[in-house]
């Protein structure tokens, strides 16, 4: 997917002020890049559910947060996500790593079975990003999410392809 420098540039373009989440193998180098960014504040959390609470507080305070987690963290996030998006009605946006999506023909990873049905069950509008050249699609989706004040997710394909 994108290089660390590329994703930082893209997130700055999108107006993101804070990134909160837990790294996975794909996002680890992105976290390293963001940790030293002067434009975006990285707020690492200990468990993915926390990221939604941190993002909620940032949003209430006027920042533009982004949750960055793997799909396994989406599974962990259930009650926090429900509360922030639906009780408090906050239009939070997340980039979620779709583990092994690019290896799906050979992989027996159960995350492939559950990730999209769970996003659908939570009624979250999401866009699947399968290659780096689809960055425009992600940016459009994020822009529309902010314009319409609704939650959104960019599901970013992971794996070797």
């Amino acid at each position: 997917m994108w290089t660390p420098a590329e994703i930082r540039t893209h997130l700055v373009d999108m107006g993101v002020t804070h990134v909160t989440g837990v790294p996975d193998s794909t996002f680890g180098p992105w976290f390293d890049e963001l940790r030293t960014s002067s434009e975006i504040r990285l707020v690492p959390v200990c468990r993915e559910g926390e990221a939604w609470g941190v993002a909620a507080g940032l949003h209430l305070g006027g920042a533009i947060p982004l949750v960055l987690i793997q799909c396994t963290g989406l599974f962990e996030s259930g009650d926090a996500l429900r509360n922030m998006l639906y009780d408090l009605g906050l239009p939070l946006y997340a980039i979620i790593g779709y583990r092994n999506y690019l290896n799906r023909a050979a992989a027996s990873d159960s995350t492939l079975r559950f990730t999209e049905p769970i996003l659908q069950a939570w009624a979250i509008d999401y866009v699947l990003i399968e290659s780096p050249d689809q960055i425009g699609r992600l940016k459009d989706h994020h822009r529309n999410s902010r314009r319409d004040a609704v939650p959104g997710v960019a599901l970013v394909a992971e794996g070797r392809g």
Partner: protein, 218 residues
């Protein structure tokens, strides 16, 4: 059955009365029992965020986010011991983020008050979980544990204004017959009003923090 803990001398409502007197213009985030008493006792303040309905354990994360977005404001987040136990990792998250304007008040009554006063897994018996020690080990800059009202009255104003992150652990009595939180306007409406109040002010918001530690944290 765990043994009942000795009655703590502070009533939650008395502790909240003191907080209300010293908060000045700070943001106060409440949840569960503290939310119930806060909305019963005090007129709404534009910088109150009553986290009801909640996702138990997530209130400190919300307070952290507010504190990072509004660094010029003091943010006081109230949480019960049962809620904090659901997300103890938040202590490490908060300490790592180093918000100087953040105060966590833990109301430790040893019980799940809202569900009828059942003891938490660490209440009573030989094990007495020490939230203050845990916060200190996590890296909170200022940690204080108080178990009587006179000390809280004397020190509250000073403690909540120390450079943080600050963690104050108050031993309070459980009151399982206090009932649920009174009916409130919809949470979404209250969240929007709170955000408008915070953002309508001239307080500086979410500056990038160039002092972040370069070493990996997770």
């Amino acid at each position: 059955m765990p043994k009942a803990r000795a009655q703590a001398p502070i009533h939650l409502v008395q502790a909240l009365d003191v907080l209300s007197e010293v908060r000045e213009n700070a943001v106060v985030v409440t949840s569960m029992g503290s939310a119930r008493e806060w909305v019963r006792r005090f007129d709404p303040h534009p910088f109150d965020f009553v986290h009801v309905p909640s996702s138990m354990g997530q209130t400190p994360a919300i307070g952290l986010g507010i504190a990072l977005a509004q660094p010029a404001r003091r943010v006081i987040t109230c949480v019960g011991d049962g809620s904090l136990l659901m997300n103890l990792g938040c202590l490490a998250t908060i300490a790592a983020a180093k918000p100087e304007n953040f105060v966590l008040i833990v109301f430790d009554n040893g019980a799940y008050e809202v569900t009828g006063g059942q003891p938490t897994p660490v209440a009573g018996g030989a094990l007495q979980f020490d939230f203050a020690m845990t916060a200190r080990a996590a890296g909170f800059v200022e940690v204080e544990s108080l178990d009587n009202l006179a000390d809280w009255r004397d020190q509250a104003s000073q403690l909540i204004h120390l450079p943080g992150p600050v963690c104050l652990v108050l031993r309070v009595q459980a009151n399982p017959s206090a009932g649920p939180v009174d009916r409130l306007p919809p949470a979404g409406e209250r969240a929007r009003a709170f955000a408008a109040a915070l953002q309508g002010d001239d307080a500086p918001r979410h500056p990038p923090d160039s002092s972040q530690s370069p070493e990996p944290g997770t």
